[in-house]
Symmetry: C2
């Protein structure tokens, strides 16, 4: 397939979460055309079994490939944890995930103390972050903390809500007196509550947003492949879901930072 710089970057996640990655991409690469797919019919991936996650990911990528795409972003840590290798083998255009750029950044910063990974149940159960980090930094101590309920609360719109800070503070209270060097926001929903998570750690703790690191990796990949979009026309932003367009439309803007004009259901007529 001949890839063109004016083609879009395709992004997918199981719901709204990946929109935080899309936000980071458009901040770094404002000229790029972007297509987002929220596989809302199968939300959440974070508590699904690995076979299903792979199956849904293949469906999502196959759909995005029909949208004139030059690269695919796996904007979901659970997908990266379970399906990365299989998807890499199956598809021959550039795939960029949220996980490997994060591993690179952690290594680059050579952490002096403990690392916390916050993720969905699936991401944590997969132990993929731990495995990849331990390969590069054998002596680092990693605390993996599943926080599935936070995904549900944010997906349902409990954003900037007093209950959220209470739930986060309580969930992380056992870390209060532990010295933590870095925290990986290992679920695409979590950058929305970075401030509340920040409050649970000391000022010396680095909070890593994999969406931002993923955006940098995309830029690097597109430069390398000579696929950066230098046209000056207004970039396209297209949004698809597999079901429940209304909820996505209603809440998407809060994840993305601007209102979403149109959301279409995959497979429905234009």
């Amino acid at each position: 397939m001949e890839l063109s710089s004016e083609s879009s970057i395709g992004i997918f996640d199981s719901g709204l979460g990946g929109l935080t990655v899309m936000k980071a991409i458009q901040q770094l690469l404002p000229g790029e055309n972007l297509v987002y797919l929220g596989d809302t019919a199968h939300f959440p991936y974070g508590s699904k079994n690995p076979n299903l996650i792979l199956e849904y990911s293949i469906q999502n990528i196959s759909f995005l490939l029909q949208q004139n795409i030059k690269a695919i972003v796996l904007a979901c840590h659970t997908v990266c944890s379970y399906a990365w290798d299989a998807l890499q083998k199956r598809f021959d255009l550039p795939l960029i995930g949220v996980q490997l750029p994060t591993i690179e950044e952690v290594v680059r910063r050579s952490p002096k103390g403990k690392i916390v990974i916050l993720g969905t149940k699936g991401t944590i159960l997969s132990k993929r972050y731990t495995l990849l980090l331990k390969q590069r930094l054998p002596s680092v101590e990693i605390l993996s903390i599943p926080f599935q309920i936070l995904v549900h609360l944010l997906e349902e719109g409990y954003i900037e809500h007093s209950l959220i800070s209470s739930i986060i503070a309580e969930h992380l209270s056992h870390l209060k007196d532990v010295e933590i060097d870095m925290v990986i926001l290992g679920c695409t929903h979590f950058p929305l509550v970075e401030r509340e998570i920040r409050n649970c750690f000391t000022n010396a703790t680095h909070i890593l947003d994999p969406g931002v690191l993923c955006a940098e990796a995309i830029k690097k990949e597109l430069i390398q492949k000579n696929l950066l979009n230098f046209t000056t026309s207004t970039p396209l932003r297209r949004f698809f879901v597999s079901e429940d367009r209304e909820q996505f439309h209603l809440l998407g803007g809060r994840f993305l930072g601007y209102p979403i004009e149109e959301v279409r259901v995959m497979g429905s007529p234009l």
Copy 2:
């Protein structure tokens, strides 16, 4: 198929919620053998599409039928809302749901004022409660309120937790000055927080627990079919899940009122 009074009653739901129905059944019918299936791999049904809910329900019933069963309890309002008619046509042993006994009880009480139905997103979107009630009580005013996040919080073990009462109070705050005659706890998780829901209404409001009404309907059905179990041996209580035995084991007792000894994964060897 020849049904025997010593056979078990099979009960299923998508997760832990149906255990509140099981609890009501064993309180009313302590001599019955019970088999519970939590289809945890597909939790939650409340936000799934109707075709999937029917497919999973057929799988669940087919599994339960292998366990020497005399009746099946659909301990899930979303299943009753979307799949009741199709399941009734497909299977020829007694099926008892949580919805129709509730409709009968509401009609029997001939409500003078408004009725609130609290349910999952699916149960409310289906409009099935409203339709069935309107057929019998055309002039009654019904307020249908989806409360999906409460299902997730309870399934994750946020039971008797201070955050739960805040979330419930906030979610129902718009009803504070509305005169409500009855509230239907239209999700099997909600009887766990009956007290917190009670606090949002006046003393004159009746709170209906469909699990209790379902248990009464089962008793009636078994008497009518001459299938009540009068043996005095210790009744069997068996528990199956489709995945994540540990979480079910850990939290099931809080739904059921006593610790669960053994949980098995469907299809795994004895």
